[in-house]
Symmetry: C2
Subunit: 224 residues, 2 copies
Amino acid sequence: MQGTRQPADTYPPTGRTVPTRSPDRAAYDKELVHAILDEGYVCHLGFVRDGAPVVLPTLYARVGERLYVHGSTGSRPLRAAGQAGPGLPVCLTVTHVDGLVLARSAFHHSVNYRSVVVHGAAYDVTDPEEKRQALDALVDHVVPGRAADSRPADKKELAATAVIRLDLREVSAKLRTGGVNDEPEDLALPHWAGVLPLRKGYDAPVADPGLAPGTALPGYLAAL
Amino acid sequence: MQGTRQPADTYPPTGRTVPTRSPDRAAYDKELVHAILDEGYVCHLGFVRDGAPVVLPTLYARVGERLYVHGSTGSRPLRAAGQAGPGLPVCLTVTHVDGLVLARSAFHHSVNYRSVVVHGAAYDVTDPEEKRQALDALVDHVVPGRAADSRPADKKELAATAVIRLDLREVSAKLRTGGVNDEPEDLALPHWAGVLPLRKGYDAPVADPGLAPGTALPGYLAAL
């Protein structure tokens, strides 16, 4: 890229976003972080309950420098975020596995991946307009274009859904790319070595048997 | 299945393994839990540091009723597990996303998934034989048959690698399968509805450019 990177383009590293292991794999570039976040839609959300960690998979969406997670108003982390005055301390992690790295030595086996870890406090979204936008973003994050092609949530559904917000402030990406890093003395070993790239994408859509007559597969789904 | 399920076939539910939301999606069957765990190799490991949650992606393997995670002896959770006398409280979560469920209403959009959440204490594995078996299991868990087809870790590599163990005791699976659950009054809406199944597998292996002459792709990789 041209020009000098400005501090505004990166998340300032903190004690907990600088890894003790493989710090060369860590990155704080906002563009990279956004790209990793936008490519996924399932995160693992961690919080503390009764002093012990809890990690649950859930959907998320990014809107600018904010992440949103939604769930039933009855679910424990969402209820806890609503009750916590200063916000619920959470760690939200998104991971893409890109390939398996098979080295000649067991020790140098690895995985190509890109992950983002976000630390911060989650707040209950109470503003109706922000909540509505967050829910649209959650649907569009999974399938771009889908929010406009579905019935929006009604009052009762909105009331049954809690949305929490986590600002992107204390954030790091971590990634491993490339090939095998074997020890020089292992290169002559007769073991196959290389990378198995993960295949990504979708199989053919399975239409609901009760579609209204004449309902065709929309273009934004056919394109996936 | 024939016969009556025995208590030994299930993990006893506890306060934290019974979800407050969609309890009908929770399962405690050992066979099902093992199958979900064995199908994946990347988990999200949660622990508490300075009172705040941390969630990191890492490889894992199952050996019977034990899970193993490995890492550098310098990595924070592994170091913490080694130092914690009563074990480091962790939550280890494995998630497979199987499909996107696109409903006519935004509210009923969902994801087909299978996840396992394990709560417990992680202990540093100090027995050399258990450690060696765990490391073999970690390699074989990613690619079955690979441990025997790579150079085993030497003394120095073993010393640089920490392995922690988490027993399968407080465990639950959670899953959503099937199609769209729209409200009856939405069925006539003109929106396409159905399931987009995720495609899984690998693209063609990319061999390391420096393979020893005559090294062919082994059968266990070609089969993937």
